[in-house]
């Protein structure tokens, strides 16, 4: 099971990195979303995969009966999903603001903070 997931993680990462190397913000955003999923899948695979035994302790028991899936990667992924979701939401709003105030989503043309034609510093006293 793990090799399949490892391959899938690799494909996800490839797509994410390819998209993030674009100079258009909208593609970078999609890349970021896929990157988050790739990482979650990676953590999930790192925690070893076990199918169809949820890590829930039955009623009246102190410890689970028999082996169950590893709950820690699930907790980590849940945290990471919440964080990457809020990040994505922030970046989406920010990109939209950037598009409406700067009039472009091409990062090559976003030179407001670092102007192309900045004057030279004073060369003499």
């Amino acid at each position: 099971m793990e090799p399949v997931f490892a391959l899938l993680t690799g494909i996800f990462l490839t797509i994410a990195i390819y998209l993030m190397m674009s100079k258009f913000i909208i593609r970078m955003l999609i890349g970021v979303a896929i990157l988050g999923n790739a990482v979650n899948l990676l953590i999930f695979t790192s925690g070893r995969i076990m199918r169809e035994v949820p890590p829930v302790i039955g009623p009246g028991l102190d410890v689970p009966a028999g082996p169950v899936a590893n709950p820690l990667p699930q907790a980590l992924i849940l945290t990471a999903i919440v964080i990457s979701f809020s990040f994505f939401a922030f970046l989406l709003v920010l990109s939209w603001r950037a598009y409406s105030t700067l009039g472009t989503d091409n990062t090559d043309e976003m030179r407001v903070a670092e102007p192309d034609d900045a004057p030279l510093p004073p060369l003499g006293y």
Partner: protein, 518 residues
């Protein structure tokens, strides 16, 4: 269900059963305090008069808590508290050693100065927007990163401080800010995601995320697991957070855009968290892998410091100039991490503490200079010395400090680093350190010459300076001078901190009092 009743579990295998003393609470109180006060400030967002009062008082208390924590740690060694009573490595542990406590205390001092300076710099609309709640949450993230003993928890605190820093960065929503925030946001997201990827691999290899547990288990796993690759990933992620040379371009693109107080806080706090994490992971958890990568880190450090100083020479905007000086300082810390040993690591920690104070003070000084001279452009600034002699004296002291001249705080870490470099035979690294100091002196000297000594181009009106603007600058400069004149205490502390990192048995013992984990 009665048929499958299990035997009652032995609680002492999973829970902390002995009572916790009040002193142990110091480990989590800084974080809980920041979050609690941040929540209160969020609720009184519209009382713009009340907000700075609460925030400044709360940060004063935070500095007190961190000072008490440092004292406690210096007395007894590393202290641990676990969340929810679960024993490590199952529960999340907060473990503080000398390095964490030193960083946390300095961060609180810097944030306090920033909060005082913000009283005049952040107007009512900025307060209603939530400057102070965001500042408290930023401090929660920073303190949490310095105090935690769990790798995934470290990631969470990184994200807390990153989200708060996004909020602070776009405060005002000007065009430059949005432009800068896009670059800052995307590149920092990539860096933290790389950190998370590395954490995922770490968990896959070790099956634990507790730092002490990892440090104890790294030895036997070294033969079979690809630990050097893992550490290379960690180093890359943290170097990006710290703005090291090939991946530093988000910093000069964004640090000059927000309000000057926000820039000052970012310069003092954010990159240093990256350096802290790099030291924690590479020195304490994986010392052998650090040694294997030390040449790479040294070259990156040398390039970072020299390109940073050269970048500073080429700037017209004072804030961008300072941004490049932040990067240059990061290079010196990386050099210390590459050198290792009490000299190198102690020097890196000392340099980071010095840089927190001095870079924040320099940004505040740039803000005051803009208020006197009417802008951040070197072409327009002039005649500051004639305008305000005390302010100019303070600035000059900070320029000396950042260049590493005695008797200011930048001198001692530089001495430690150069000595460590010469001792280990890396003469080129020592030369790079000294050359960087020389270039920094030229850059800041040129700034002083043009902005302070050059006669003002146009006669400007006399500007009144409120005490809250000058006071934090004076306080931070005083800290720098005091560290420079009386370095013995801090030198002793950072060397002890470096020794604890090198030989983390005390750290391990604090997390696992009964011996190593099952």
């Amino acid at each position: 269900m009665a048929a499958v009743s299990s035997p009652p579990a032995d609680l002492s295998a999973a829970l902390v059963l002995q009572p916790v003393t009040a002193l142990d609470w110091l480990v989590v109180l800084p974080v809980a305090w920041c979050i609690g006060i941040g929540a209160v400030l969020m609720m009184v967002r519209h009382r713009t008069f009340l907000q700075p009062l609460i925030a400044v008082a709360a940060l004063g208390v935070l500095a007190g808590l961190d000072a008490a924590l440092l004292w406690h740690v210096a007395q007894t060694g590393p202290v641990t508290m676990v969340m929810g009573r679960w024993l490590p490595p199952f529960g999340i542990a907060f473990t503080v050693d000398l390095m964490g406590a030193l960083f946390a205390l300095m961060a609180a001092v810097v944030a306090l100065a920033g909060a005082v300076a913000a009283v005049t710099d952040i107007n009512d609309s900025g307060r209603r927007y939530g400057f102070y709640p965001l500042l408290m949450l930023l401090m929660a993230g920073v303190s949490g990163a310095f105090l935690t003993g769990d790798v995934f928890n470290l990631y969470v605190w990184f994200e807390v401080l990153l989200i708060s820093s996004f909020g602070l960065l776009v405060l005002g929503a000007e065009r430059e800010q949005i432009d800068g925030a896009v670059k800052y946001g995307f590149l920092n997201l990539v860096a933290t995601t790389l950190f998370l990827i590395a954490t995922g691999y770490l968990y896959g290899i070790f099956g634990t995320l507790n730092m002490a547990d990892i440090a104890a288990k790294a030895g036997p796993l070294r033969e079979t697991a690809p630990l050097t690759t893992l550490i290379a990933l960690f180093v890359f992620a943290f170097a990006m957070k710290a703005a090291a040379f090939p991946v530093n371009f988000w910093l000069p693109a964004s640090y000059h855009t927000p309000r000057i107080v926000v820039s000052a806080l970012f310069a003092g706090l954010l990159t240093k968290v990256g350096i802290y994490a790099l030291i924690r992971v590479s020195v304490m958890l994986f010392p052998f892998e650090r040694r294997e990568l030390s040449l790479v880190i040294a070259v990156v450090g040398a390039l970072t410091m020299i390109t940073g100083a050269l970048g500073a020479l080429a700037q017209t905007d004072t804030r961008r100039l300072l941004g490049y000086l932040v990067i240059s300082g990061i290079g010196s810390m990386l050099a210390g991490i590459a050198l290792g040993g009490p000299g190198g690591i102690g020097g890196a920690v000392f340099y980071a503490l010095h840089s927190m104070v001095v870079m924040t003070a320099l940004y505040l000084a740039a803000g005051l200079a803009a208020r006197f001279g009417g802008g951040f452009s070197l072409a327009a600034l002039g005649g500051l010395y004639a305008r305000h002699a005390l302010f100019s004296a303070l600035s000059l002291m900070l320029f000396f400090a950042v260049s590493g001249l005695p008797p200011f705080s930048g001198f001692w870490p530089k001495v430690m680093l150069v000595k460590a470099a010469l001792d280990s035979g890396a003469w080129w690294l020592a030369a790079a350190l000294l050359f960087t100091g020389f270039l920094t002196m030229i850059a800041t000297g040129r700034l002083f010459l043009i902005a302070y000594w050059r006669p003002a181009g146009a006669p400007t009106l006399q500007v009144a300076v409120p005490a809250t603007a000058l006071l934090p600058l004076m306080a931070l400069t005083a800290v720098s001078v005091l560290i420079g004149l009386f370095p013995e205490t801090l030198l002793g502390l950072v060397q002890k901190a470096a020794l604890t990192l090198d030989e983390p048995s005390a750290y391990l013992h604090s997390v696992f009092p009964a011996g190593s984990a099952p």
